[in-house]
């Protein structure tokens, strides 16, 4: 069974620690070029390879990631 997923990141709460990036098996998260109101570059979706595995959100210390997933 295959999955298609996506993530939603609360940009203002993200501190850009990048632990999500290191834990993403699909290499689909990157740091933004822009900064948020605290001056942090935040995590953002880099491509559409996300499978909704939630590894990023599971390790996120600031709970800024919401994960969506559908079966395809």
């Amino acid at each position: 069974m295959a999955f298609k997923g996506t993530i939603e990141i609360d940009r203002q709460r993200c501190k850009g620690c990048s632990v999500c990036i290191a834990n993403c098996p699909m290499e689909c998260i990157r740091l933004s070029k822009a900064v948020n109101s605290k001056g942090y570059r935040y995590a953002e979706l880099a491509n559409d390879a996300c499978i909704g595995c939630a590894s990023c959100a599971t390790v996120c210390p600031d709970s800024v990631i919401t994960v969506y997933r559908v079966k395809i």
Binding site: C17, V19, N23, V59, C60, P61, Y68
Partner: protein
């Protein structure tokens, strides 16, 4: 194939911030393990539906403000004394779930007597022990758990056994005490590790109602600011150095 906007519907959510975590932005540094452990404690309490029966005891250290983040009743203890508060809270309210949340300075240095005797008495509480080998809040001084050779602001040339003594493996010590029921050492650097730690915390909460003694969950953690590494580098350093001294896995489970 569904587009991203098609997928982003409430019914497709598979992971989100637990409702029991407040909206306060955590004061922790980027990548700090505290945030992850707070989150899984909130998840466990939420999933067990025990918010109205849970009492948390926060320590002195970076996590002194734990009470700002998990939406439960909290008591803020003096440095190292959380197990004493928890002892009374549990004995006076045996139907409540009582846990302490303590760092290595709090639990393994100034609070050594309190944790040892709470364990020895077999208090039916849960202890979550964050071991990052350093004093974070006061600016990165040596902790009892600091590894030999590790540089901190009070071991600027690296921890030297002759000068500073040896790192304390307090978790193994506590496992030797008859009053402990479940002792484990976990981490939160990968999704799999987070899930294991969460299961361990849940087991601890469940055991605390079985009248079998104290459950102790050590979480080997990073303090990337204190270690002077990026969060991702800190996780790598932890797996390469901390796990050798502090190996992960269950150490004791009286129901197994």
């Amino acid at each position: 194939m569904d587009s991203v906007t098609d997928i982003r519907k409430p019914e497709n959510i598979v992971y989100r911030k637990p409702a029991l975590l407040t909206d306060n932005i955590m004061h922790y540094c980027p990548g700090c393990s505290h945030g992850t452990v707070h989150k899984i404690i909130a998840e466990v309490i939420e999933e067990m539906g025990i918010q109205d029966r849970t009492i948390g005891i926060s320590p002195v250290g970076c996590s002194v403000f734990a009470y700002n983040y998990i939406d439960i009743d909290w008591q803020e203890a003096a440095h190292g004394r959380a197990p004493a508060l928890a002892t009374a809270a549990k004995r006076l309210n045996p139907d409540k779930y009582v846990f302490t949340y303590q760092g290595d300075g709090d639990l393994a240095s100034i609070g050594t007597a309190e944790i040892i005797h709470a364990c020895s008495r077999g208090e039916n509480i849960v202890v979550v022990f964050i071991n990052n080998g350093i004093y974070g809040m006061t600016g990165g001084q040596m902790a009892p758990t600091t590894l030999l050779g590790m540089k901190t602001s009070t071991t600027p040339y690296g921890r030297d056994a002759k000068l500073n003594g040896f790192p304390l493996k307090i978790t193994e010590m506590l496992a030797a005490l008859d009053g402990t029921a479940f002792i484990t050492r976990q981490a939160v650097h990968t999704a799999a590790a987070v899930r294991k730690t969460k299961n361990a915390i849940r087991k601890g909460f469940e055991y605390s109602m079985k009248d079998i003694g104290l459950s102790f969950i050590e979480v080997v953690s990073t303090c990337n600011s204190g270690w002077k590494l990026s969060p991702v580098e800190a996780n790598k350093w932890m797996t390469e150095h901390m796990f050798e001294k502090y190996p992960l896995g269950d150490i004791k489970d009286v129901l197994k």
